[in-house]
Symmetry: C3
Subunit: 648 residues, 3 copies
């Protein structure tokens, strides 16, 4: 389990480099990420390269046994480049070129940008080929599925569509362009969806394709860089640092061409009012592990109070620096780099705090970090361990895009729906993989398939097979609604899942932020909100009914025996208790061990090595907690993580 | 009483047409609106026309005794047209051409657009001339008083002004342009009010004229289409479907050239928190009837939960589909078309629900609709009946525009003020016409003239005459404030109405969302908000006084005998009880029958035929209600309408 | 003590002029401001001047013993000018030329605008030179540090930078441009900070310089006009009317070249919910007096309910018209002009109410104004009196800009921090000067130096000297944070103030809108919010500690003996009681007299003449108050001001 830091030697006076390296070495830092954003120092003038300063820093680290991760600087071409090619910046939705002045302005499709990017990447990679200190490459920084509306990108979108649909007639059919006389009679008429309109007002099929295009577009860019690096500097793993942003590329595709997953992890320093919202980053971590179903890196980890993009936020409370990093290990990370070693004293991001404050005097957070380094060393035995999960949650980028394009009802978000079921797993101490719906999930015992909105027949087919062969499936409302183009399906909901669910949707009611009482077959009361599928059981048993409104008494949650498997259908958005209850039942059906007595906000996960089962117990709350695990009682301070090891 | 539906054959596979027509016929549908938006199918290529598919559908309907309404497709020129004339789209307030991609992009002043619009309309009208199935024409869709800022529209605005004012000097005087050196010295300097500024920051006289221009501009377009249709297809009535939008054309002018009024009616599916707000669409219906003081059509009626332009809303509760349509009959509609037969499965509007869901399986809403069709048939005797009202509320587009331009105080809206008095009428079971202030209102007994803000001397003259001759007039605050140009009048308020009111405004206080206690002469307490005219009676008696703030004890509501009539003046924005009390008194003065004991949210209206008085009793609440009308006690389910018939 | 009004003869029919002048004279008006905005009347055509009408009005006033203030009309060039030079308007942050149609559109750097401005100003000044009625000149109107992004202004900004930094290398170093490869390699690459990004996302050093540039830019314009006027019309004092806006020029620099300070004063007519917020305009008045440490003018004073830029607000309650004006006298004004004589009946600002309503019938507010005129006359003995303050609050435009650029934490505003300490002074009846940090403050006994964020070594040096020599200094959190470029300082906080404070910041916590309990050494409880400096005393005594969160028990407020002086450091944002307590202590230390028993919202200030001390007691609350001052008990109606005179 390695700990590292993100470091920007170019931000600091040379006189600090050695001192910093010494302190890192002493503290237990094993990896340093550098050079992303430093294009103007590596190529100060067009075609004039200077790696001397970077060589010097790398040597300082290497001398102390510290490896480096090198970032390609393509997020920030120097201003001399933009002066030469002013049209190499992105065009925003209003049709205006964005202004340079921050970062990430480049249009990744601009041919001159690509030429200069190739040159700097190849120079760098060639220069550091064979350098033993270089442990990995990071491509660019926090790549997004950019929505650039320049003519070049518009053309590229048209090209993508031509390849996919061949003729405008086929495209018109796929998009239902007949609505509002929107039929194209030539390719020239096709435009990316710019302008002032909200996404929801545009053709939803066009919008979904545009999102897919934007994702593929940036993935092509990332894969292209990976190939450049590998050609020049073979044998060194390549990744990029991803994050959760407005327009996310399809991680599963993105990392297919990369060697491992890296993620920027900033859990909240101010706990949300709603305690249910606290555990969301556990979901993020499980999602990241699920991308390659393999150990991953945290490329940037919370080091201090965030700020700059927003007013400054609270500092991490005692325990958070250490606890959140250990939590990442508990969910499958094996390398965690902290962003950043020292808080910047220049530039816009100077209030996004590092481990060291501006003062450069090690303080409370640094002490905790040092302590973490020691702990991480002691966890070496976890290297190569596995997180074995019997439960999977399916994730779909088509759905992520489609739900952003057409919000279903006030307050209804795709991610939140996923987190609700994930939280219920956490509360029961169930290891859970969040995986792509395109993956083979036949090895799991329980597959939670929330909101299978856009229908990929291959996926629905595999879900059927999984259930028939004895798996437990949990479905929810808004499944089977759309075809692959994002058009509505003309059949009773949940569409292709109707037979599995053994129930159909007689009617639905989008109730927004209103609430509706629910009642279980055993008299237990729950509450629903946002959406109500009024279910007609067609073989399924009714587990929970609506207890209000004009559909009082109708089924809200059902369970169906489907061949050898069991299929739950949750027709509303329930409260915590409802999901917990369903997961309990589903885990029971599948014979999975749960921890039903965990106190609130205590998280249990397990990593398994060849000869050990390591149980991570994390107190996610600002209060001390006492937990009993297999007869052993643990006391946990706020944000404290304890690890219990036993034989498998 | 006819029921119809809106149907888009071009959205559906041909194989569904016959099946749809069969089900419509069986259900009792008598009218189908079609073809609006279908330009790209009627003229797939420039100059190439194809009405075959539409002929086929019309025949299917005609064969089953169903008539059709044809919409001209001018809201949506095909994309080949925009490709040819990219500058034929509107220019928004920021000076940017809007993006095609939704609908309604065309600048109605663009000469090429007009040429192509003329051609398609004439082709259509000629093609369907003499077709017995065609019951009516609808022009375009939901026309607005568009604010287009293209050079052509700016020129057109200048031309309009030149015609109105002849010289810039006259214009400068009318607008008070001397303020901030805004005087024009040439016509070229005149600009429509584009840019980032809020309306309230611009010259209010310019703004009012611009709104008048925009209204006349679209009305010219609508009248022009009407004349084209009539020339080619004489004898078939022509209308357009209007709605309440940000920039409304003057309905009274708009429908002068059209044969009947048609309105798109979408009452709320989620009842507002504030029960007082529930009855607002009764006001809308009365307003629509008042446009021509004649029976009108609902061209689009609520069929399912709205969505797409916003996240999906609640589905109509049981009773709403039927009840809201019957309510439209009760307020003077005699034809109601539902939007739409089946929910679209393609295009942006796929979440604006029709009678049939995506599944095409008739459900609860459809059953209720079928039931309505039966009821509508049984109401045939109402055809030609009249709504006789003794009370009128005056509506003014000058005021509608002027109050939007200059908001008076936080939370003060023109429409809401009208609705407050309308609601009080509803609560007392008074039939009420909402009519243009420009109309002859001498036949009424009580004229409610709320907020007579912009003063048209002809109107104020007729109001004086009405009162002198024995009518009862109810005036409110913000009357007599502005001259016809929207400049403030230099005389004590209520200006020209001061003599009628027998009181003047010593001072006013805009109190926004604050409240102020009021007390009636009989000790009854009320509450005021938003606005306080501190009244000085000059002959009038004081009915209600302020009971707080520095003007405690001053008159808030007065009543004045004016020659043979009575004039109320309401100087504040009262609560429900205040308006109810004043309307009770005014009805008493005028000797009108009221129903003082109606339970909350029960609405009573009457239509009169040659030999019958039909009393419509509508339960507008989500609870069952019991009502006694002339000794007869009725039980009403939520949204249930019952009709009692008696001799006149 | 002079009372005047703002009057726009060009807005009114000539027939009203004499009648208005008569009423003014009778009422006691001694000054009238005119002509600002009247360019289109003074130069109706390019190069054709007409001062006849203005001469006539001035004569009317002069004949009645009323002087005039003349405004230069440069805020509003006539439309014929913009027609000729359409590019003479400002360019907004989006890169779009703003639209004419309101006022203040001109780019003050446009050479043709400057040429025309020079011509009209010189013509005016020459024409009125020697006219005895002209008491003063006002330059333009409410000048702002405009952020214009036209090419000309961008060039001007580059020129300003070149002069300041000489080389791009120096500029890169000063700005830390290495971050995100933002290094300039040529001057052409430098851009003013336009575009969609929030300020906080841009380089903070660039942003601070840009704000400084914008300030200097408008000050150059103002000084240029002053010199033009003085050359043509020597001997008449020149000012401009300033106000608190988003982008304020540095008042201290701005008024250096002007003869006295003039300010537009609009206290709230609706008292804020939070009673603590009521006294903010006392702070504004003290700030204005502090600009030149001399008596100042109110050029525009609240006369009626504001409106137009927002919906209409409440009218001033009884007492406000008079009380707020007397309050201005109490804080150092000696001339107060009311905006405006009569409410405009034309133009956008017609709902910003004057003393007379549209009706032109003198009402309650006018009566109060007339009464004020009488009182003002009786206060003639105050002319030349002085406000002697022993307490100063330091104000810094660098900080004002820097805190707007980088908000520190949710809810944290620079002005509000200043107001908190100012309020505490008011509550204790302490006269307090708000002065520039660049001023010589050695004469004060207590210097409150809140948030000395951007460090000017000259200032911090003088603060040290002040304390060493026996002064009392009150420092707060966010001091010593930034260097002069707005980069973070690499040393423990409060940086250069650490030795004075005798304490350092071990860690800080930006807590936004959260609260934290505090406890005084004597057990007294307070509350903190927004920011927590966790202090490590290094010699200082701890006055108040945190009583919650992980730093419970740490020092929050300290006091340090520093040589012969005392230095308080307030590490959090406290409640009213905390500041009150610290000010009590500090006043005690410094031997200042306080009024510890003032009831809430009663304000006491003193002006001193050669032979008298005049104590102004102002009831700032909507309730009557009773106050005992030096044994004398006063009853005060809401907004009533009483003046007690005694020997020094």
């Amino acid at each position: 389990m390695r700990i590292g830091v993100d470091y920007y030697p170019e931000h600091w006076d040379k006189s600090l480099w050695e001192q910093d390296a010494d302190l890192m070495a002493k503290t237990g830092v094993r990896l340093v990420r550098m050079a992303e954003f430093a294009w103007s120092r590596m190529e100060p003038k067009d075609g004039v390269f200077d790696f001397g300063w970077l060589d010097e820093v790398i040597r300082l680290f290497a001398d102390r046994g510290i490896s480096v991760v090198l970032g390609t600087p393509t997020a920030c071409p120097p201003l001399w480049f933009y002066e030469k090619y002013p049209d190499a910046v992105m065009v925003d939705r209003d049709g205006q070129r964005i202004r340079t002045g921050i970062r990430g302005h480049r249009c990744i499709n601009h041919p001159e940008f690509r030429r200069y990017a190739r040159r700097i990447v190849e120079h760098m990679a060639r220069h550091y080929a064979g350098n033993k200190a270089v442990a990995a490459w990071q491509i660019d920084n926090e790549l997004e599925a950019y929505h650039c509306f320049c003519d070049r990108c518009a053309d590229s979108f048209r090209g993508w569509l031509k390849e996919k649909y061949s003729t405008v007639e086929a495209l018109n059919r796929a998009y239902g362009n007949v609505v509002w006389s929107g039929e194209y009679s030539s390719w020239n008429q096709v435009q990316p969806p710019f302008g002032h309109y909200p996404d929801a007002w545009m053709n939803p099929a066009l919008m979904l394709d545009y999102n897919r295009f934007a994702s593929e577009n940036v993935i092509r860019f990332s894969s292209w860089q990976a190939s450049l690096i590998r050609r020049q500097c073979p044998g060194v793993p390549v990744t990029t640092n991803t994050w959760f942003c407005e327009h996310m590329p399809d991680f599963y595709q993105e990392f297919k061409d990369l060697d491992f997953v890296a993620y920027d992890n900033y859990p909240p320093t101010r706990l949300p009012e709603d305690p249910e919202a606290c555990v969301s980053h556990a979901f993020h971590l499980d999602l990241m592990r699920g991308v390659k179903r393999a150990p991953f890196w945290i490329m940037e980890q919370l080091s201090g109070g965030p700020g700059c993009w927003m007013p400054m936020c609270r500092m991490p409370s005692p325990g958070m620096i250490r606890g959140y990093a250990l939590q990442a290990f508990a969910h499958g990370a094996d390398t965690v780099l902290f962003f950043r070693w020292r808080t910047a004293s220049i530039g816009a991001e100077m209030h996004w705090h590092g481990l060291l404050d501006h003062s450069n005097v090690p303080g409370r957070r640094f002490t905790e970090f040092a302590n973490l380094c020691t702990t991480a060393k002691s966890l070496a035995f976890l290297q190569g361990s596995e997180i074995k999960a019997s439960v999977a949650i399916l994730f779909s980028f088509d759905n992520e895009y489609a739900f952003k394009i057409q919000p279903q009802t006030e307050g209804y978000y795709y991610f939140e729906q996923l987190q609700r079921v994930h939280r219920a797993c956490m509360e029961l101490g169930l290891n859970v993989d969040v995986v792509s719906e395109k993956e083979d999930f036949s090895g799991y015992r329980v597959v939670i398939a929330p909101e299978m909105y856009v229908t990929d027949p291959a996926v629905s087919g595999r879900l059927h097979t999984f259930a028939r062969q004895g798996g437990t499936v949990i479905l929810t409302a808004r499944s089977g609604v759309k075809d692959i183009h994002n058009n509505a399906v003309m059949s009773p909901l949940p569409g292709v899942y109707r037979d599995m669910a053994g129930a159909s949707v007689a009617e639905y009611n989008p109730i927004g932020r209103d609430q509706i009482p629910l009642i279980g077959a055993d008299g237990q009361a729950y509450r629903g909100t946002q959406w109500c599928d009024i279910l007609e059981p067609e073989g399924a048993e009714t587990l929970v009914r609506y207890d209000g409104d004009y559909y009082r008494g109708s089924a809200a949650v059902t369970r169906n025996r489907f061949d050898r498997g069991l299929v739950y259908y949750i027709g509303t958005v329930g409260d915590e208790a409802l999901y917990r209850r369903i997961l309990m039942d589903a885990a029971g059906d599948a014979g999975l061990e749960v921890y039903p007595d965990l106190p609130p906000l205590v998280e249990v996960t397990t990593r398994t090595t060849a000869d050990k089962v390591c149980c991570f117990v994390f107190n996610h709350s600002p209060e001390p907690r006492s937990v009993t695990i297999r007869g052993e009682t643990l006391s946990l301070e706020p944000f404290e993580m304890k690890i219990i090891t036993r034989n498998p």
